[in-house]
Symmetry: C2
Subunit: 388 residues, 2 copies
């Protein structure tokens, strides 16, 4: 079993030695002379949990900065869709490779992806040492044979890394996937124990269209189909009313909040007050790089905490809370036993360089990490017990 | 005269050689064999204008992360003020030294500061190679002899760097400086050709208190005192109505917009629609690190552009516009002949490492810089014709 001794590291304000055995934290107070295969001198570094990005379309790095600042319809119809139409499976693999490198450099060890031609993305994640939930996307637009192929892929799925990659089932959204598509996709997910990842109540238009088509709002509509449950990760949830938040919380749904994307596309401010009060599990996603335009979950933490406060309450969503969204909440949503530096937990972590000006002085490390740091403060990232 | 040849650099999408002579750009298409004292191979780097931070309290790095996420009154009364009471001139110099290093690392070549015991801050800026407008702060709270000392300091001011540092006059805000303090400070500034830097209409409370005390709103009140003019830099301006925006624009006032601070302290969303429509000169400031919590003007650009859009219009404040706020607008507000890569302009610039994942692919460099980059993409910063 491989082992790493991370020596002289700062953990919760004290200096200690952290022992990793296999892919888990084995001892947070290990003796300095403890024998390990690899010794890493972390003098001047602090250890914090790594980041889990719960909503992404990673290969869209290829469209970074393409058609920015345009009205939504123009951006989609004149830029995104025509560009995506030309993408080959090879392009998607390249875009995913770029995304994986960017995420590793900014402290993420996991992303939940929703895109097409997933084999190349799976290959890049496998090579990278990261974790991922790779979505298999369902749209009404697909032919019956395409859908059957996807359903077969779900049944025969085997993680090539033995633990780092899971397949997720992604009925795209209520405006692109009808009742039958949702039912088939959700059944396949539940039969095979996979997570369900979808877009939900992202824009006001979606809510209005849903009211017209189904006489009810998106959350209520999906609940009526039996879709909502603790295996569901719903991205966005910007236009969700108080009663709908209670439904999401009761069903145990995880929400993937994507503040940069919601701001950049003009979707609106996430209803932090209602979301937090409901007790629903909130996590953070960057969304695709084309509507962000990076994959930096640290930046996303700052955006979420500040967008919460701008409405008038500086105590809403404190640093420690949003940090939880980006770490342990993200991990738990996908059944990953990590997101915390605790004995027995999966060894996913970031080492922060405390000599960086942005981390000084250190009245509160989490506050510095959320509000002040950037990726230049990251010295190393550990995933599944290995430096990646 | 010192000279630098920046070879093989990307400028506006083309590869060229940029010649700096003295402290100005001399040639943007210099021959590769052009003789210069120093040759800098910028292969794989792009040159963009550096950043100008127009509202700061730099030494407040010392309070970074101290008392975050508290209601405003608690934060000020139980954290900030008691801490500041204990600061010595030496502490302030140390805090400023830290701030200067952080700003250089994140691409700023200038900051407009408002704090106390300014001599140490001036010394740190002089050593650093950066530019600054160091504010001399006026408050009603000061004794007559303190005020006279400040007025004398204004008269005898000499820039120790011969061009990089200016003194600015800072009547703090309408709620801390009464009519007489404003009049004295503003006269002293105008007699000595110095800029005037103040806080204005930051919170709803300030507007309400002003209405009670003076029967009018803060902008109208300062205008009635004859304060507003093209030499004034007003920080925040969150609670400013349409007619007030027209007054600010007509008087030629520069606004220092501080999105992170306005969000973090719950002050509110800057009225981008009105501000932009008025034609007023808008610049960007980080505000003090205690209400941000960093001094990264690149991050501030992204926050401004996205906070504009969240209200529903993704085309409001495009990347190129906010980039102008952070560069040439900031320079012009303080009479600095820089902020653009043009022959004859002051040689202030950033070299970006185009190999960084966050800058790839490059459909639009400014969009990548504003929305996707972070300080890890900065290879070098040039100020006043020298690498700093």
């Amino acid at each position: 079993m491989n082992s790493i001794l991370i020596k002289n590291v700062l953990l919760d304000g004290r200096r200690t030695n952290v022992l990793v055995e296999g892919n888990r934290f084995a001892n947070l107070d290990a003796p300095a002379e403890c024998c390990a295969e690899e010794v890493y001198d972390a003098e001047g570094l602090a250890i914090v949990p790594a980041l889990y990005n719960t909503h992404n379309h990673a290969a869209m790095t290829l469209l970074r900065g393409y058609g920015d600042d345009k009205p939504l319809k123009v951006w989609l119809e004149e830029y995104v869709w025509p560009y995506e139409d030309k993408l080959t499976a090879e392009d998607i693999q390249r875009g995913s490779a770029l995304a994986v490198k960017e995420m590793k450099a900014s402290g993420s060890v996991f992303f939940s992806d929703m895109y097409f031609d997933i084999e190349g993305t799976i290959e890049e994640v496998a090579k990278s040492g990261m974790r991922a939930a790779i979505g298999i996307t369902f749209l009404d637009y697909h032919s019956k044979s395409q859908r059957d192929e996807k359903l077969a892929r779900i049944k025969e799925w085997k993680d090539p890394t033995g633990g780092r990659i899971q397949l997720a089932v992604c009925p795209h959204a209520i405006y692109t996937a009808g009742e039958e598509t949702f039912r088939k996709a959700v059944s396949a997910a539940r039969e095979n124990g996979l997570k369900i990842h979808t877009h939900l109540s992202e824009t006001r238009q979606e809510v209005e269209d849903c009211l017209k088509a189904h006489g009810t709002t998106p959350v209520r509509y999906l609940d009526s189909l039996g879709v909502l449950g603790p295996d569901v990760i719903a991205a966005h949830c910007v236009h969700v009313d108080k009663e709908e938040w209670d439904i999401l919380a009761e069903r145990g749904v995880t929400v993937a909040h994507c503040p940069c994307s919601n701001m950049k596309l003009g979707s609106g401010r996430f209803p932090y007050e209602l979301a937090v009060a409901s007790g629903c599990r909130i996590t953070l996603g960057t969304d695709g790089p084309s509507s962000n335009n990076n994959l930096d979950l640290r930046e996303e933490m700052k955006f979420a905490a500040l967008l919460a406060k701008v409405a008038g309450d500086p105590s809403l969503v404190p640093a420690a809370e949003v940090f939880k969204w980006a770490t342990v909440n993200g991990a738990r949503a996908f059944g990953i036993d990590g997101g915390e530096i605790k004995v027995g937990k999966l060894a996913d972590a970031i080492l922060l360089d405390m000599k960086k000006e942005r981390l000084q002085p250190c009245h509160n490390l989490i506050s510095n990490w959320v509000y002040s740091a950037d990726s230049s403060c990251i010295s190393a990232t550990l995933c599944d017990g290995k430096f990646i």
